[in-house]
Amino acid sequence: MTTAAVAVSRQQVEDFLYAEAALLDAWQLDEWLMQFDEDAKYEVPCNDAPDGDPAHDLMLIDDNYVRLTARVTRLNSRRAHREYPHSRTNHQVFNVRVDGSADAISVTASFTVWRFRAGRSNCYVGRYHYRLRRGDGGFRVALKRVELDMTDLRSVGDVAIIL
């Protein structure tokens, strides 16, 4: 527990999000995973239930740290056929809002993630919700929740990449 939280600036959070996006775009997934705490969650609700609760509702993705690690292992292997060879992606983050009043920092941001593979282009649009903790010299991710604005996945096919 840190007390009297040091004010968090939006720029610090933005720098963190941009660095995360760069790791994902470079497919440096091991380094990306290292930013997550071992009790962290990575969640993507279904398109028709963006407020989905993983305790009651079907999600597209509901990874605890074990499954998130398995997701990274899978995507690093040559046997995740949908992503071998990997897509080129461009994770774009904006409209960042930070609430650092509590011990855990709440962040919301808009995103577009472009995905290009084998002559095809897909675009994911939505909102990120993060819960960040202050860690050694930066932030640790406790929650990354990805709420999609598309009404379905028909235009993108699947969520085999990490958003």
Binding site: A55, L60, R82
Partner: protein
């Protein structure tokens, strides 16, 4: 006109079963499928649990046609209507789900009730002789019937009744529903995704035991990494259920929320899952309880419904807007009143494998698209679906696919002949 050269060649003498690849690529065959198969079959609309209360509704396309399913406020019946105003055509149900006593077309404000009756027409005096309210109710889809809560509709007024159509698939629906304690529901949250290949490749893939080890290697590695014992493997049989329906049933290398424990579920789930299993034994006897608890089922209900009772239960339907495009809609099915802890594990178990963000489904989509791309290469005219002919069909054979293709060929008739002249 028949060319006498069907695209499905079923040769019991040489024990070869082949499907000409034009079945997956030809626009003519695709058009004929819409008329001869999708307009002439019982098609899954939804589950009664999605509309429990009077006035509850869901709307969705069935075989590409917008319809909506609503529980009648007066009768309590499940009504399935063509989603079009009887006046000039606009959709009368424009929300994906909700509850309403009336469905008003916003265009000219004609208003219908949940039983489909026309109730309101503004400025009706302008119609000479008055408006015939009886004739202008919402049009029901020609046939609607349910089996164990699964609602089906058919656009063919002359089709056989649903239980006759379902044939041997009925017993397997019973097995799944009774295994869940007799009452099931669709969980909130829908998978709606698409891929670029022929729909019949998804039929094959959904009931294909042969591809699991090779395509889904990363899934099995994940299971092993969390301590799942895979030594039992995937062994079992394929069953032709009649009318094009088929199932593979096989031993489960992974856990099943009802009722086979695995490390993914956690130590504290052992006792609960053992209790669920002994309940099944008490109610259904050891033999049937074993089938419910430890045996997986991947079932095709012809032509486009999959109910897979594997590490969780998924209900999946699909429709092809084009020969090389498929829209898939999938849900998760679960027992009603399931303990919260068990529900959580069931949800968890589903996501490891299934769905567009799972560890398996994206790789299936890649495989199917890869096949479709391969067809475009030409040079090879036929797919071979002979695996296991001449022996008692195993779960990793292809008899279940042959059951589908035989029915498909029968319904298509000469529309599925290859072009005569090259």
């Amino acid at each position: 006109m028949s060319t006498g050269m069907p695209v499905v060649v079923d040769d019991p003498v040489t024990q070869r079963f082949r499907v000409h690849r034009s079945a997956m690529t030809s626009p003519d065959i695709h058009r004929a499928e819409i008329e001869r198969i999708f307009a002439k079959s019982w098609l899954y609309v939804g589950h009664e649990s999605e509309i429990p209360k009077p006035g509850d509704f869901v709307r969705r396309p069935v075989a590409g046609r917008p319809v909506f399913m609503v529980r009648g406020v007066e009768t309590g019946n499940v009504n399935v209507f063509h989603n079009t105003c009887t006046h000039r055509g606009a959709l009368v149900c424009r929300q994906d789900s909700g509850n309403s006593k009336v469905f008003q077309c916003f265009y000219h404000a004609w208003t219908f009730d949940s039983e489909g009756r026309l109730k309101g027409v503004p400025d009706r005096d302008a119609y000479a002789g008055g408006v015939n309210f009886d004739e202008l109710g919402l049009k029901r889809v020609e046939r609607v019937q349910s089996y164990r809560g699964f609602v089906f509709a058919s656009f063919d007024p002359d089709i056989v009744d649903l239980p006759t159509y379902l044939a041997g698939a009925k017993d397997y629906i019973d097995l799944i529903v009774d295994g869940c304690g007799g009452s099931v529901e669709i969980i909130r949250g829908t998978n709606q995704y698409s891929f670029g290949a022929n729909w019949k490749l998804l039929v094959e893939n959904s009931i294909d035991g042969y591809h699991a080890e090779s395509t889904h290697d990363t899934y099995f590695k994940y299971l092993m990494s969390i301590g799942t014992d895979l030594r039992g493997g995937v062994s079992g049989r394929a069953v032709d259920l009649g009318n094009g329906h088929a199932v593979i049933e096989y031993s489960s290398p992974w856990g099943r929320p009802i009722a086979k424990w695995e490390p993914l579920f956690g130590e504290d789930a052992r006792a609960e899952i053992a209790r669920l299993r002994s309940d099944l034994v008490a109610r259904h006897g050891e033999q049937r309880a074993h089938t419910m608890a430890e045996v997986n089922r991947n079932m095709l209900i012809y032509p486009n419904l999959i109910i897979n009772d594997i590490m969780a239960v998924t209900v999946r339907t699909f429709y092809p807007p084009a020969p090389d495009a498929v829209d898939v809609t999938a849900w998760e099915l679960a027992p009603v009143n399931e303990l919260a802890s068990l529900r959580q594990r069931r949800l968890d178990s589903f996501l490891t494998f299934l769905g567009p963000g799972g560890f398996a489904t994206p790789d299936d989509l890649e495989a199917l698209e890869s096949c479709q791309q391969g067809f475009a290469s030409g040079g090879v005219e036929w797919n071979d679906i002979s695996r296991g002919m001449g022996r008692s069909p195993m779960a990793n054979d292809e008899e279940q696919m042959r059951a589908f293709w035989r029915r498909w060929q029968h319904q298509m008739g000469t529309a599925a002949d290859r072009a005569g002249a090259q």
